[in-house]
Amino acid sequence: MNIIITIVVTALAVLYAGLFKAKKALLPLTLVGLVTALAFAVTAWDTNIVYYGMMEMDNFAIAFSSLIILGTIFIFLLTQNYFAEHSENVAEYYTLILFALSGMVIILSYTNMSMLFIGIEIMSVALYILAGIRKKDFASNEASLKYFLMGAFSTGFLLFGIALIYGATGSFSLDAINKYLISNHQSVSPLFYPGMILIMVGLCFKLGAAPFHFWTPDVYEGSPSLITAFMSTVVKTAGFAAFLRLFGGTFAPLHDFWMPPLLAIVFITLFIGNVTALFQKNFKRMLAYSSISHAGYLLFSLVTLTGNSSNNVIVYAAAYTFASIIAFAVLILVKQKTGGDGFESYNGLAKKNPFVALALTISMLSLAGIPLTAGFIGKYLMFLNVMTEYHIYLVAFAILNALIGFYYYLKVIVAMYFKEGPEVELNAPVQYKLVLILSVIITLVLGVYPAVILNLI
């Protein structure tokens, strides 16, 4: 609760600060707020406070909130001049990001369907707007509209699902629903099943899992890169946590029912994400497709529910988040220099700025899942997770997809190291360097010594 209040208050403070043209104060203010929120999160460890039966700050929620807050801090660090170049309404953007973050904290900790719904909508509505803040940019417009229309459409399904669940159980409370499932295990109301499926559809849409992924590449590509970074890392993590909370917890008794369709979704997601990413010539769009495939890997944790599922997700999400942040940070830098985000813009980057190139290399290796990076540990945990029920075919399929993944992740490394590019200076501002260094360190530490995060939850 403290976390949400802190974030929202920060958001409002920023909004007012913007009103009073205190531009310089915006970022520090935001960071202070976020750090405070992070501190609240960390100190709330193991307290397990329940708010009004609507929210529960259990360790799961705290771990994920810490992760997303940290991710958001990193993204804010990257905002230096990013918005200011295009608009004077920086404060509003900050506010919207913070609002979205507060929505995410809600969906990490909800214990009631209404909270899930409200949280998702706060997050989504903010994002619809953020996707379109480049008002003159057609791509941004298009991203915004696509996201909005499809998001609203999918919300309909989510709501229909919630309604059906409500009809079956007579309650929105996750506890009550779970109790209902356990006590009526043999005679669950037939309304429940389609309800569950429709909720799955709604959440899969937010995750960008196929075949509900279609918005992802377009929106990711069209949105401003920083917002894309936000969406593909923090938002995805939060969405996944929400998914996990519901299906890994409340709906777990019906695992046998919803697992097969989920498995199908995993298969399609992996396949579409990886295969389509292969042919991309645009780095940003490639990252979008790769984020689809990562959603597929993340869903592994739900294919087999074990005691470690949620922890595996947090490891994977952390690995993915920080690697992606590096990728987007470099993307922004390169785009500012060369004006393009195709692979060819990265040609010869290793010569222009070896450090940035190295960071991006580590990020790519992590995304590809090479050992000694966090990405490998994440993938390994996911594989291990589904292997406990011997879904060997799934892992084998995932491996084939991972191979495709290697191919396209290496493409950018190839461009940076092995191709000649124009001799342009590329200097990373201090904040970028900070983010890159921290992210690289996190990626490597998690890869070499993941024990720190393994038994968190």
């Binding site: 499809m150 099943y193 559809v201 849409f205 196929a210 279609f214 590449p217 097969p260 579409i272 295969v275």
Partner: protein
């Protein structure tokens, strides 16, 4: 003394190292001194070992040096076996080797690669000694391949001439074909008898029944190995080509020592062969065929060394024939005498070539006997010896083989004795063409012809003496001797007396002697009296002569049947199978993935309506699942 046998190969090895490292820095005389000196020391040690062995009641000594290879039950020590067989081989190798080293000092004097040459020769002696001294098949195999290597190095000694280099390669590869047989035989011996030590294998072999199939296979494989090394059909074509090397090399390696390794090996394992009659029979046939083939080809060759080379092939065939009919002692006897006279002949030929400034074509020689008196005299002795006229050495050894052949199969004897006539004919043809008649080269060249230096002629004389009297070590009882060699070898190879009556033996000798004299006479008539013939030789030949001249086109046949198909197969494997199929599948997987990517990404059409439609389709399927699963 016998325990010091390891010094025998080690000293030449030292010579190799010193000469090899100092080849550019040491003076030629020093190199020559070291090169021959080490062999001489080895020779002295060999002699003392030989004498010691003669006085020793124990005729077989195994000298263990160190464990070489061991894996599981396979234990291969590097150890030497000194027994009558190997001790006599030591004498031949070091003795003849020494003479040839001395000879080389003169022969190679002007060659830039003098030091290299001596180091190679020393290395060769080392490996050859290893071959005969080894107390197990693997040590023999080291020597076996080692001499092959030296043969390679020495054939290709003048490597800038690429046809020489090719000849060297050919020799090595053909030997390798045999070597594979040897290797597999070793594996079979190891798995069958649990060891490859002679001392452990042979007693076990002796307990087996004749005709044992494993044994036959082992014998066959060993024989294949011998075919390669000793230039038997079908692996003989490398030997004539090997004449590309300097002549002392031909004398040492390709006449006196290395090529007889096959005979040594079979004699060494005769127990095996005795129990494999089928293989023995095969050996006899192959040996006979090789003898005939070699002789036929030698009839028409014009290169002096080629004649000798084919003669060597033919003589080796003789030895195999002997082995095939069980005349191990006889064959070994022939090895010894052949070593004397063939080394002599080659060295004489070398002397001629040296005098003629590397002219090897007999059509450009003639009438040299006055200019090269020593060479002529020694070569005459050698030729008589090989032709098999008594009392020269060749007579006794050849006769012993022929007698056994007669005992074995009279038809084969007929062919063998006919081959002996051919031998006499072509050898004297060579002699007459070279030394008789008038000089056929240019006048300018004629003036430069001179007798070789004494470092070359002295070995010739020594060898000539040996060729002449070498036969005394094996005078058969029928001629009043008691065949010392057979007695000496009896601990290794049990002597078995001839079943032939003395009358028959006399008759056989008479037939061969008379035939040989007739053949010589015919050659004399043909090449000395009708002295225009060498010129006519350049004209049209009869079909048969043509076949002989072109060595029965065997090289061409091999080229057509083996080399080209393999090369074609190689190209096919590379260009079609590897690139198109195996790699094609791998690349095809990549390609199809990227094509799939190209296709699937089109789903991302950018059209919201389509996206939503796909979503709805997904939802419908999921609901359908729900409907069906309830």
């Amino acid at each position: 003394m016998i325990n010091l046998v390891w010094l025998v190969p080690l000293i030449p090895l030292l010579g190799f190292v010193i000469n090899g490292l100092g080849r550019n820095t040491l003076s030629k005389s020093l190199i020559g001194f070291i090169g021959s000196g080490v062999i001489f020391i080895s020779f002295l040690i060999s002699v003392s070992i030989f004498l010691a062995l003669g006085n020793d009641p124990v005729k077989s000594h195994e000298i263990f040096l160190f464990d070489w290879i061991s894996a599981g039950t396979l234990q291969v020590p590097l150890s030497f076996l000194v027994d009558p067989l190997s001790s006599i081989m030591l004498l031949i190798i070091t003795g003849i080797g020494f003479l040839i080293h001395i000879y080389s000092i003169g022969y190679m004097h002007d060659d830039a690669g003098f030091g290299k040459f001596f180091s190679y020769l020393n290395l060769f002696i080392f490996f050859m000694l290893l071959l005969v001294l080894g107390s197990n098949y693997l040590v023999m195999f080291i020597g076996w391949e080692g001499v092959g290597l030296c043969s390679y190095l020495l054939i290709g000694f003048w490597y800038t001439n690429s046809s020489y280099a090719t000849a060297a390669k050919k020799a090595f590869v053909m030997n390798r074909i045999g070597d594979l047989g040897f290797l597999i035989a070793i594996f079979m011996i190891f798995t069958t008898f649990g060891s490859i030590e002679y001392a452990k294998v042979f007693p076990q072999v002796a307990e087996l029944m004749p005709g044992d199939s494993t044994l036959a296979l082992i014998a066959l494989l060993l024989f294949i190995a011998a075919c390669g090394k000793s230039a038997q059909i079908p692996l003989f074509t490398w030997l004539p080509d090997a004449m590309a090397g300097p002549t002392p090399v031909s004398a040492l390696i390709h006449a006196a020592t290395m090529v007889t390794a096959g005979i040594y090996m079979i004699a060494r394992s005769h127990i095996l062969f005795d129990l494999a009659p089928v293989v023995q029979h095969l050996i006899a046939i192959i040996g006979l065929a090789t003898a005939v083939l070699g002789a036929l080809v030698a009839l028409t060759q014009t290169d002096i060394k080629k004649v000798l080379a084919y003669s060597t092939v033919s003589q080796l065939g003789y030895m195999f024939l002997g082995l095939g009919v069980g005349a191990y002692t006889g064959s070994f006897f022939h090895v010894i005498t052949h070593a004397f006279f063939k080394a002599l002949l080659f060295l004489c030929a070398g002397s001629v070539i040296h005098a003629m400034h590397h002219e090897q074509d007999m059509r450009h020689m003639g009438g040299l006997r006055k200019k090269l008196p020593v060479t002529f005299a020694t070569m005459l002795i050698g030729t008589i010896a090989i032709a098999g006229l008594p009392p020269f050495s060749g007579f006794f050894s050849k006769d012993e083989i022929l007698a056994h052949v007669y005992e074995h199969n009279q038809f084969m004897w007929g062919i063998a004795v006919f081959t002996a006539f051919l031998t006499a004919f072509y050898m004297f043809r060579m002699l007459f063409l070279t030394f008789y008649g008038t000089y056929r080269g240019t006048h300018h060249a004629e003036e430069k012809i001179h007798e070789s230096p004494s470092s070359m002629t002295i070995p010739l004389i020594i060898l000539a003496v040996l060729s002449a009297v070498g036969g005394i070590i094996g005078i058969p009882e029928v001629l009043g001797g008691h065949h010392w060699l057979a007695g000496w070898l009896s601990p290794v190879i049990p002597a078995h007396g001839s079943a032939l009556s003395h009358v028959t033996e006399y008759m056989l000798m008479a037939v061969s002697v008379v035939g040989v004299i007739v053949a010589i006479a015919y050659a004399f008539v043909k090449y000395v009296k009708q002295s225009d013939l060498p010129v006519a030789d350049q004209g049209k030949r009869s079909a048969l002569a043509n076949l002989s001249y072109h060595k029965f086109y065997i090289d061409e046949v091999y080229d057509l049947l083996v080399r080209r198909p393999l090369d074609a197969l190689s190209r096919f494997f590379y260009k079609v199978v590897d690139t198109k199929i195996v790699d094609g599948i791998v690349n095809g997987l990549g390609w199809s993935t990227s094509e799939a990517s190209k296709g699937i990404r089109l789903l991302q059409s950018g059209n919201i309506g389509f996206y939503i439609f796909m979503m709805v389709a997904g939802i419908i399927s999921l609901l359908l699942y729900t409907y069906l699963s309830l």
